[in-house]
């Protein structure tokens, strides 16, 4: 399989400098983009069927097409890389930023050109110190080589690029929460409309895009939409960085064609389950996705196919549940995370998720009652999409509602046995 995103990444994860990056075709995407009209760049990304890799899977070219263009458009316009990777179980963007930082810089420059942005920020989570160091070096080299700054490669297009390191909190990864954090505020979400493409950072047109999504952009421009679609097994274009964590033999990350099956990722690349444990289920794309089980192993991991079986591909990094691990304990850990990370802005989220954590803790400690399961189902409905101000709570109840569906007997045992059946281990 042709490696696109990871072809420069060294096995010892050493820094790939501008010369090494150029040697494999780096910055050819930017050169080509600068010779096209911005609208043509948007069009090729639209045709490629590139969908956002941050979790939501929104079509990238379509998102860019909503940015006001032309001489009457408000300025400055902004391009923001969402490098706030904090979805539990997700570790792919870190690999891309540490392993090939110029790829992100080039992707951001091309995207910024397409929407005629003036300033680009990398909103980077504060814990990713090595990524910050690598990106600072790459940005400095890019400026030196006229890939950033005033009059890039003599094109007349200028772009300044800065890194902002966050001070924590999962809500900074939510598009409008991120914008508030970048403005020096609490990372509460904003009402939409207006959408950030029209009124975003400091009230100006802004595109916020995931790191992996942006890394695909130079390759699409350089090689064309048909090439990108041809890399995939399904309708969603390109390759995907897939991952697996939990009790598998080889947890890790792999770049594979979009639409690779769950079974192939789990059994071939991750080496299957460790000795002594058996597969029970998985969260296909990070903490905020619905559980899938044995019957779903042949599902193709793309946005459409996973949605058909009632879950989401999300970030594409799978969290595996084995038979020696308590599903109720796992869900309690997840709801502890989501309850803690609730920004507090809207009641169903901050209240509902905290009550969910309380009920799950009671179950784990052998204090659970049958009414607790009704209460947990109630909270799942309370936090459905459309009932809350942003998608944190609807995402939070995905593992909960699916665990109640697939692992109901385990919840019941906690109640009837008045203990966690796994607690002796």
């Amino acid at each position: 399989m042709e490696k696109v995103l990871t072809k420069n990444i060294q096995s010892d994860l050493s820094y790939v400098d501008v010369k090494a990056y150029e040697a494999t075709g780096g910055y050819q995407g930017l050169r080509k983009a600068l010779s096209m009209a911005p609208a043509e760049v948007v069009e090729v990304v639209k045709q490629s069927n590139l969908r956002g890799r941050g979790g939501a899977g929104f079509p990238t070219g379509l998102k860019w097409s909503f940015v006001p263009m032309g001489s009457d458009a408000p300025h400055p316009k902004y391009l923001v890389a969402n490098a706030d990777e904090m979805e539990p179980g997700t570790f792919k963007d870190r690999w891309l930023m540490e392993g090939d930082p110029h790829q992100l810089v080039e992707g951001m420059a091309v995207a910024a050109y397409a929407i005629q942005a003036d300033v680009a920020y990398i909103f980077l989570r504060g814990e990713y110190l090595l990524s910050a160091e690598r990106l600072r070096r790459a940005i400095a080299e890019a400026y030196e080589n006229h890939y950033l700054g005033k009059n890039i490669l003599g094109s007349g297009f200028s772009l300044e690029m800065y890194i902002h390191m966050s001070a924590g909190r999962y809500m900074c990864g939510e598009e409008t929460g991120l914008l508030n954090a970048l403005e020096g505020k609490r990372a509460n979400p904003r009402t939409k409309p207006p959408y950030p493409q029209v009124s975003g950072l400091f009230g100006k047109p802004t595109i916020v895009q995931n790191v992996e999504t942006l890394c695909n952009v130079p390759h699409i421009v350089k090689n064309g939409a048909d090439w990108f679609k041809g890399l995939s097994y399904t309708q969603d274009g390109g390759t995907k960085i897939y991952g697996a964590s939990g009790k598998v033999k080889r947890p890790g990350l792999w770049e594979l064609p979009m639409g690779t099956t769950i079974r192939e990722i789990l059994e071939v690349h991750a080496g299957g389950m460790q000795d002594g444990v058996r597969f029970r289920g998985l969260l296909p794309g990070g903490a905020s996705t619905d559980f899938l089980v044995e019957e779903h192993l042949d599902v193709k991991m793309d946005f459409t196919e996973v949605a058909k079986v009632g879950s989401r591909m999300g970030t594409g990094t799978m969290i595996i549940l084995d038979d020696q691990t308590c599903p109720v304990g796992m869900v309690r850990n997840l709801e502890h995370f989501f309850a803690q990370e609730s920004c507090g802005w809207c009641t169903p989220c901050w209240s509902g998720l905290n009550w969910a954590e309380k009920a799950l803790t009671a179950l784990e400690e052998g204090q659970g009652q049958p009414a607790d399961l009704d209460h947990l189902s109630f909270i799942c409905n309370l936090c459905a999409p459309g009932n809350t101000f942003c998608a944190l709570a609807p995402g939070a109840v995905e593992p909960l509602q699916s665990a109640l569906k697939y692992f109901r007997e385990d919840f019941d045992r906690h109640i009837t046995e008045k203990r966690c059946p796994w607690s002796s281990q």
Partner: protein, 154 residues
């Protein structure tokens, strides 16, 4: 009073944003880098520099878990408590850390050496359990070998 060094670093951020308030998180992180935490006095100095009210700035400070509004030890240990690390042994690691250091989560050792905190997913899920000590990321942490891991942090 902010030091000349702190002022210089904060002012270097000004050209990156269209207004001063946007620098407030960077400013607090800079002060914390120099002093270990953000005191009420530092908060007041930063607010004044950036043209914000102290209440507004404290509202921002207390939202973000990586900004410390209480003193911390010489070294801050942050142990990941998210799902993949939980599957791979977080609870055992936490128990060992608490026993070894003699403190609860959120506390500092009596000698001022270590503060122990939980942290959310560090993005190292394939080498869990993970934790950070100051700026160092520790992977595949063995709860039985904490003494040698912590030894270098005086």
């Amino acid at each position: 009073m902010l030091s000349p060094e702190e002022l210089k670093e904060i002012e270097a951020e000004f050209p990156h944003y269209p207004n001063r308030q946007a620098v407030c998180i960077d400013a607090m992180k800079i002060v914390q880098k120099h002093r270990g935490w953000v005191s009420d006095e530092s908060l007041k100095d930063i607010a004044e520099l950036l043209g914000m009210s102290v209440d507004e700035l404290d509202g921002v400070a207390t939202f973000y878990n990586l900004i410390f509004r209480k003193p911390v030890g010489r070294h801050v240990i942050m142990v990941c408590d998210s799902v993949s690390c939980w599957v791979m042994g977080y609870e055992r690691l936490r128990r060992e850390l608490k026993n070894r250091l003699g403190i609860q989560m959120g506390e500092t050792t009596a000698d001022g050496r270590f503060t122990l905190l939980p942290i959310v997913c560090l993005g190292a899920c394939d080498r869990a359990p993970a934790m950070t000590v100051d700026e160092d990321l520790h992977l595949n942490v063995d709860p039985q070998r904490l003494d040698s891991l912590l030894e270098k942090y005086k």
